[in-house]
Symmetry: C2
Subunit: 216 residues, 2 copies
């Protein structure tokens, strides 16, 4: 039986739609009353594991799921031995450097050396500022990163920006971009190599299903 | 002005009650409609920062909050230069090793060497198994750790257990305890040293207020 690890949260609805278009119905996961973390597909030939965004690649890397859907941002921040199979197109957002709108900085290279930068993605931020040759002090936060500049704890943040509304509401502005992120279909390399056909067929169907528009 | 960092989630209600008993009313934080992350006390002499559990000690360590309330478990997992001032008593839970009820293991030392252990608290787990002199492979997860043994990814988990209901619902059983955790009042060491009186007076009032029973 094929197991697919899907991330709770923003990617779930589009993930379920994409697998539905590929012939596997996991719509029970979208039921607000669902408390199950393992849900069989309606056809009974596959099942979904509902896990945290950051855990999808872990289950795939350890072979507990043969496939998974996760944001490219998470794969960049927590590299794991999984195969990136398909860029699913949805869940688009960008990893950006943001500062207070009143700060006067217009790009990351303007930031003062050794300033503090708060982020949930400190590895991505570390690589970016190392490339810039700008030494900064990284502060790891797990949420509400916009509080960094608001409280004065940090000069800048590195965070995911989708609509930009959170930045705007908090008087922040994006001044530089690290990379663009979308949802990816990932796979367990050994499972793909040992596959007699059905796994690759499913990957092909997911790839062919295209990215349906996100809506209510 | 005194700033207090409070954790979203399970500790919030008791934290607000305890500060209310000490003379600072942050009850606006309990309003379900509240979207503000910085809320002034009713008297206007202090304010609360509403942040993630794991971030409370960060804001206190960097001096953006002089005081904070956070679980001992988080302080153990992410050591930061903050002063532990008062054991607040509420938020009691234990960090435990749990396995499948059908596994036959009755204590952590029974686990096979080099088995996999999944946890959100991999540093605590690492120290515990090092003390036991039992080599294990730790798998870091960010949520729903009980899926580790259920999917067969790990032999055991190390996780916080409050009522034990989650373990029971998932056919797991606790076989060993790492430590007991409760909420702690923490402080910024320099702020405490430079304090002319009001900060210590607040700490004393919070300590004296005792732990009101948790209720609906």
């Amino acid at each position: 039986m094929i197991t697919v690890a899907l991330a709770k949260g923003a990617l779930l609805k589009d993930s379920v739609r994409r697998f539905a278009a590929a012939g596997l119905d996991f719509s029970a996961l979208l039921d607000a009353d669902n408390r199950q973390l393992r849900v069989p597909s309606t056809c009974g030939r596959a099942r979904a594991l509902l896990v945290r965004n950051a855990d999808v690649a872990v289950y795939v890397a350890y072979g507990q799921a043969q496939l998974g859907v996760v944001g490219y941002d998470v794969l960049k921040e927590h590299p794991l031995p999984v195969a990136q199979l398909v860029d699913l197109g949805f869940g688009g957002c960008r990893m950006a450097v943001a500062v207070k709108a009143t700060s006067g900085y217009s790009r990351a290279a303007d930031l003062p050396p050794h300033c503090r930068v708060a982020s949930k993605f400190t590895r991505c931020a570390e690589a970016f500022f190392a490339d810039l040759d700008l030494p900064v002090e990284l502060i790891h936060l797990t949420g509400s990163v916009e509080l960094g500049p608001i409280t004065g704890m940090s000069e800048a943040i590195v965070d995911l920006v989708a609509t930009g509304r959170t930045l705007q509401e908090n008087g922040l502005v994006a001044i530089d971009e690290l990379f663009h992120s979308t949802a990816r279909l990932i796979g367990h390399p050994l499972a793909l190599r040992l596959d007699a056909g059905p796994l690759q067929a499913l990957v092909d169907r997911v790839a062919a299903a295209g990215s349906p528009p996100s809506g209510p």
